[in-house]
Amino acid sequence: MTSRLSVRKLITVICESCLEETITTAAKEIGASGYTVSDARGSGAHGLRDGSWPENANIRIEILCDEVIATRILDLILDTYYSHYTLVTFVTDVGVLRPEKFQHRAPSHER
């Protein structure tokens, strides 16, 4: 099976819901081919965020991309959001069937 699959990065960002548009727009500008968002609630260093009202809801953003773009997204998050926002990020190696779909288009960035 693994022969057919290419490794890509899955970046998952769990953050306050007011960041949805900012982060997804930035990810696309940086070169991500897409993203997926779902609603979430949770608890962490900033206390309980149970989604009982909009200011208090979290989202879960997933971005499938190659390593070049993953690095840029992590940089963006570190530089722009980590200091002031409620935010957790993790990166997973996943296998995808159509690797070209999740690759930056400019050839200079290809691995």
Binding site: C18, T22, G51, S52, P54, E55, H84, Y85
Partner: protein, 313 residues
Amino acid sequence: MSDPVILFFILGVIAGLSRSDLKIPGVLYESLSIFLLLAIGLKGGVALAQNNPGELVAPIVVVTLTAMVVPILAFLIASYGGRYGRADAGALAAHYGSVSVVTFAVASSYLTRLSVPFEGFMSVFLVILEIPGLLIGVALARWSAGNTRWAALMHEIVTGKSIVLLVGGLIIGYVSGEAGLSSITPVFFTLFKGLLAIFLLEMGLVTAGRIADLKKSGAFLITFGVVMPLISASIGIVTASLIDLSVGGATLLATLFASASYIAAPAAIRMAVPEANPSLSIGASLGITFPFNITIGIPLYYAASQWLLGASI
């Protein structure tokens, strides 16, 4: 006997504090707030259609100017009294400079119960007061920072859902008039107070959740949450007498001045002043000022309006 809508708020607070599993689904909250904003806009529009909008220009200018004092005062008090940094003081200024739609709804429900008449165009002030205080708060917070994207911020505030629904409702109500709206009044007017009651139940739950935040924030913030609306309400009543509002209108204007935003302001501040700690300003506005206003504040502002303006009617 108190207004039943307030009892729903208290029920929510008690349920929240006793850690009940009662939860109002987030979607119901959003749906009810869409309804309330539209309904208030429509009601204002119908009232406006019965007036000459031209006559409102002067009062609007006066109210906008005096209302600008509120965020500046809030900023000074928070900076010097509370020793908050520029960002947090600005955020507080933005919240208290803007207005709370639900507090306004509770106040008009209070007056209707007592059969106190008020000017129908008060919801025009509601719309107009939502924005400037917010902008002043952001300006104060970002004075020297310099990299604020004002155009994006203005777009976000002006196209924010509360402005869109309030202004949209106002225009639809104005264009259609009372007769034109008659087919939709069973939803927007007849159901208003019952749905407001359910919304306040949820507000009670949310308020209860904020009380933990407040414990951390300490005595200054709690005092601020009670004193600030008293100061703003006074400015509101004085303004009301300048523009010759009735006692009911003065009560509503005082309430608008006294109320602190917890819908438009938190969202805007989070994007424009991210370094401000949201639990300070939301804690004060939602955890202290909102319950204070709807339970003690409104009757107080009514009494003060009666005392100051009552003779002239």
